[in-house]
């Protein structure tokens, strides 16, 4: 009967460490076979949430239900929830094969030896580590370790796998490759993933849906597309690292800031007033260029070359830094002179306003 409820649900999770409230009433429902990214700045309670779900920490309030079973007070080893650690936490005294086999061999009721061998061998093949079975953990690379950590968890066939920034320790190339591999593995095995990450690109790229956590509470839970185009509040927009967030006050049809009244296209209900414009929706024109759309006078500060794009940093009258992204696919890199005055222009319909 329990299996008919095919989701993982958290209800009103509260977790305090002394006077600090790490999680302040988190409620969340994850569907079966869904890949959910959990995005938030450091200190937002991401890891605490994962540890509560895994059972390493007991919440001060709230319940964790996995496929209809209340596991809030269940010991971690009885939950059937896999956990992939940021530092991988491999068993350094065991070989690659022994690491992967560990959960099966040491289960309460271990499967027969030949089945263990078959499943472990198959899993090692799946993550592409065939031939390295006998190696010690110290003799393989970072990416290979990450795959051992994943294989070790997957082979026990948990229904939910929690990933705590498992790609954070890898270099950029490897991170991209592992991202693809994670997706492939999930498509083949059909488990629910909850992936904590501090990287907004990773969160948006990997998640079917993205949870944005802010100061121990859920700020938004939606598809990457929705999050990107309609962040629920100014903080979410800031975490995405794609928006210039200007402060001011919403008055009727205009958003009043230190640089004048700015027009906008979309309004999002929020308790905090702010004005958001994406880095890549802004045009830079000379001081004397004709006016068009929304306009803010600025001074050029610096630029940063990113390979596929260039980031330009401009300072507005109140000292606020505005970022402009220029994709190099659009043409060659424009040059601006330091401390020269320019104007930033954008279309009102590209801007969103919170308030």
């Amino acid at each position: 009967m329990a299996e008919t409820i095919s989701n993982i649900s958290l209800a009103g999770i509260v977790k305090r460490y002394g006077d600090v409230t790490a999680l302040d009433g988190v409620s969340l429902v994850l569907d079966k076979n869904e890949y959910v990214s959990l995005l938030g700045p450091s200190g937002s309670g991401k890891t605490s949430l994962l540890r509560v779900i895994a059972g390493f920490e007991r919440p001060d309030a709230g319940t964790v239900t996995v496929f209809g079973r209340d596991v809030t007070n269940l010991a971690p080893h009885k939950r059937g929830i896999g956990f992939v650690f940021q530092n991988f936490a491999l068993f350094p005294h065991l070989s690659v094969y022994q690491n992967v086999a560990f959960g099966l061999v040491n289960a309460d009721t271990p499967p027969p030896a030949d089945e263990v061998r078959r499943r472990v061998t198959e899993m090692i093949r799946l993550v592409g580590l065939t031939g390295l079975e006998g190696r010690d953990i110290g003799q393989i690379s970072g990416g290979q370790r990450q795959r051992v950590a994943l294989a070790r968890t997957l082979v026990t066939e948990p229904r939910l796998i929690l990933l705590d920034e498992p790609l954070g320790a890898l270099d950029a190339n490897l991170r991209m490759r592992m991202r693809d591999e994670l997706r492939n593995i999930r498509e083949r095995l059909g488990v629910t993933f909850l992936h904590v990450t501090g990287s907004e690109t990773e969160a948006l790229a990997m998640g079917d849906r993205v949870v944005v956590l802010d100061r121990g509470a859920i700020a938004q839970f939606a598809t990457p597309d929705t999050i990107m185009n309609s962040p629920a509040n100014p903080n979410v927009a800031r975490f995405l690292n794609r928006y210039n967030v200007l402060l001011g006050e919403l008055r009727g049809d205009a958003f009043v800031t230190a640089y004048g009244d700015l027009a906008y296209g979309k309004r999002i209900e929020s308790s905090d007033g702010a004005y958001g414009i994406r880095y890549d929706r802004i045009a830079v024109v000379g001081e004397t260029a004709p006016s068009a759309g929304v306009e803010v006078p600025v001074t050029f500060v610096a630029s940063e070359y990113l390979g596929s794009a260039v980031m330009y940093f401009f300072e507005a009258a109140d000292g606020h830094i505005l970022e402009v992204e220029h994709h190099l696919g659009k043409g060659r890199m424009p040059e601006y002179r330091s401390r020269e005055k320019y104007k930033l222009q954008w279309k009102p319909e590209d801007a969103i306003v919170f308030g």
């Binding site: 895994a54 010991a75 939950r79 956990f83 560990f102 040491n106 309460d108 320790a169």
Partner: protein, 282 residues
């Protein structure tokens, strides 16, 4: 500039240290090869011989020098040291494990345990003897002395394990749980192998401290003596070089223990080294 002065000074210091550490032993070692049975425990060496070594094992014709009464006491001391080692290490591991999570009164308990190292041994021994007497408990090396030895060595084992567990990354344990492995099995399969170097050190501490413990045992051991007491007992009569020969043999025994320790340590450190590399990359 500074090192031109400092280095020779430090070298002299180290030289003196080694001299004081090994000097007495070297003197004893030389004297143990004194001629027997007439030769005494002093220089000069009349004639080099292994007489006193043979004397210990009863391989010499009977003479006026009585054989050392160490056979039984050596076995007692070894047994006692072994019992103490096992008990203290088990207790040390368990209590240090308990201290990984802060519990109510953990500070007080910590100092109560560590105090066992500080209390003068003579007092502990005397106290144990008096308590045993007033309770009508007979004193033996395997009962009252054993208890004082455990009380004495347990804090050392505890502190060693505490230091080891302080550095222990508990995420490997959590990883094991999340793979469905119960806590006790996790301890046996993950925690214990990883803290094994520390356990070895704790064992070494407990064994050596117990093996040559004197002041506590003096009061607490009752009729049957342990080795340190037996050795001391022979001083009261007359000193012959056989005691030096015996000293050399027990020291060699200690060295072999240390060698076993070093081999086991190297084996487990090599594994831990791999673990360290893993952390560096991660």
């Amino acid at each position: 500039m500074e090192s031109r002065v400092l280095k020779p000074v430090l070298a002299v210091y180290v030289g003196l240290f080694i001299l004081f550490l090994y000097g007495p032993f070297i003197v004893l070692g030389i004297l143990s090869f004194q001629q027997g049975p007439e030769g005494g425990p002093q220089f000069p060496i009349i004639e080099w011989s292994t007489y006193w070594y043979r004397h210990i094992f009863g391989l010499t014709p009977p003479s006026r020098v009585a054989p050392l009464p160490f056979g039984q006491s050596l076995i007692r001391s070894l047994t006692l040291a072994f019992m103490t080692m096992v008990t203290s290490t088990v207790l040390g591991v368990m209590s240090a494990q308990a201290f990984r999570s802060k519990f109510k009164g953990s500070g007080v308990v910590f100092y109560l345990i560590v105090l066992g190292m500080m209390v003068p041994g003579v007092l502990t021994g005397l106290g144990t003897a008096l308590t045993a007497n007033s309770l009508g408990i007979e004193r033996h090396w395997w009962s009252t002395a054993y208890v004082t030895h455990v009380v004495y060595t347990f804090p050392f084992a505890f502190l060693v394990m505490l230091a080891i567990l302080n550095r222990f990354d508990s995420s490997v344990e959590e990883a094991s749980w999340s793979l469905g492995v119960p806590p006790m099995r996790t301890f046996r399969k993950v925690t214990f192998p990883l803290i094994f170097p520390g356990v070895l050190s704790a064992m070494l501490f407990a064994f050596t401290l117990s093996y040559d413990e004197f002041s506590r045992t003096l009061f607490a051991s009752g009729r049957d003596q342990t080795l340190p007491l037996a050795i001391y007992g022979t001083f009261a009569v007359e000193i012959h070089p056989n005691i030096f020969a015996f000293g050399v043999l027990t020291t060699l025994f200690s060295f072999s223990l240390l060698t076993v320790y070093a081999i086991l340590m190297t084996m487990s450190v090599r594994r831990a080294g791999k673990a360290a590399i893993q952390e560096d990359i991660a």
